[in-house]
Subunit: 330 residues, 2 copies
Amino acid sequence: LKAIYFKDKKIEIINTPKAVIKQNEVLVKIILAGICNTDIELFNGYYGFEGIAGHEFVGIVEKSPENPGLIGKMVVGDINCGCGECSLCEKGDPRHCKNRSVIGIINHQGAFAEYLNVPLENIHIVDESISPFEAVFVEPLAAALEPAKQIEINAEYKIAVLGDGKLGLLSALSLKYYNPGLLLIGKHEEKLAIAEKQGVKTFLTDSKRESRSLKDELGEFDIIIEATGRPDGINYALDLIKPEGTIIVKTTSHELSSIDLAKLVVDEITLTGSRCGDFNLALRFLKEKRLDVLPMIENIFHFEDFHEAFKLARTPGKLKVIVSFDKNPG
Amino acid sequence: LKAIYFKDKKIEIINTPKAVIKQNEVLVKIILAGICNTDIELFNGYYGFEGIAGHEFVGIVEKSPENPGLIGKMVVGDINCGCGECSLCEKGDPRHCKNRSVIGIINHQGAFAEYLNVPLENIHIVDESISPFEAVFVEPLAAALEPAKQIEINAEYKIAVLGDGKLGLLSALSLKYYNPGLLLIGKHEEKLAIAEKQGVKTFLTDSKRESRSLKDELGEFDIIIEATGRPDGINYALDLIKPEGTIIVKTTSHELSSIDLAKLVVDEITLTGSRCGDFNLALRFLKEKRLDVLPMIENIFHFEDFHEAFKLARTPGKLKVIVSFDKNPG
């Protein structure tokens, strides 16, 4: 059995023994896995990572001793595996458990492999109306929808998504369900076009344009989703937000951001960090065809061509690169 | 008539003509005015300020053509004067009106003067059970209570106030009404003692102590009021906050703060800026004796000794310095 191994900024295709599942685990045969910016960071050595990465996946259940009804089903899986014992796990929020493992990130093998063990409670069955090429987007789509779980997003607000990268696009495509008038602000005409085709309003800007001039043209926003991926993106957001507005921060830069907190205080602005989301909500969005994720696929590679896939994924401006562990994924 | 004039980092006592009130204004004869850190910043030339500062005041109404019933009453006044026409003013929130003037700060004479014009709608009558030495704290007390208007604060949460300066002390003394177990963390034994005497739990730390070691000893908090006044105070707060917790930011430093937004995102933390508050709520706290503000008075000076008063107020670590414009303020 094969898996992709990250070590010292190198990628190796290794042989792994057939996985032995533990109690309350399910063995998933991976069909597709998506490459996320976090994987690129892990490759680059952030968090001192070494091992099998990958946390966006769809697969077929091969073993499930505690729930045999899952066998043969197409599934996706939450990536946070809580300890099951702390107060956060007890209230059903393993996403923030201090002792959690995270599939493909912290102390749990990832999905860039032919087989993956997943805790039974993390498993979500994918409806038959959803293709694996759509289902592989469930993890990032859930993250894109997380703001709608954190704050009220309705049609009354004036909302902007900053950044037309993968997460910005998914945010705009999905959150427009709650706020049809939202504006996606980005620097890439061809990416904005993907959102436009699905009815999202867009605004093309460029690196030289100052936020003040953007504000003069666009006005201020009640809610901004900051998904630029740049450490100074937050300052753009602070310049464009209304007093008492909320900025949802999606960018996880490894540089510190320099922020004018006086502006935050005087205008009583709220910044809320936002990470993983609700898989059930993302699956409902896909089932009800509230957005089309397929135009966000940059390319699909067989896992034996992982080097090539990863090189493409690391190229700035590329959309979602998907790796197939199955000869006939469709 | 006399007033205190700030210009080019100098203070002058000037003569002013007797104020002419405009429509819907009230003429207030100032009894007492408090010196705030903002006044020190204005003196230092931030915001390019020149003029008569002062925004914490209590006085007696001398003229009130539109509401003669106010004449002779002891009053305090909201400092934000909205344009009355924009959408924020229409929904009753002149605090964030873009065209607002702010008493003693922006385009409106301040309270370091014998007489002050105040918009009628900004006036609050002070109950007879409240002394002027208490009433002069209404403005900062309202600001200290603002977090309780912005988020739910109840006894269930584990809450810390960071910083035992004037605002930190007022925050701890007032917010303990909602959360009796809250902890005030500061570096000054004598200031913590003021809070302790009124039943606030306190913790003495020092500049050398790292936030990590504080966390080991105190655990993490659901809510932190960041009132250190230092640009790096926010990072202490970020180290001590629970996942999905809320930091209320009170510090308005003129330096930028370097913040690890990745921590904000991964732990889904919320930062909410917090400024001015609700005078009615502050007056209720004083009337019902929910806290005693008098131990927070550092000293009281007659306005002709303003130089001396201001020198003391600028000395680091000093509590509230009050200026009297009345020979018999009590």
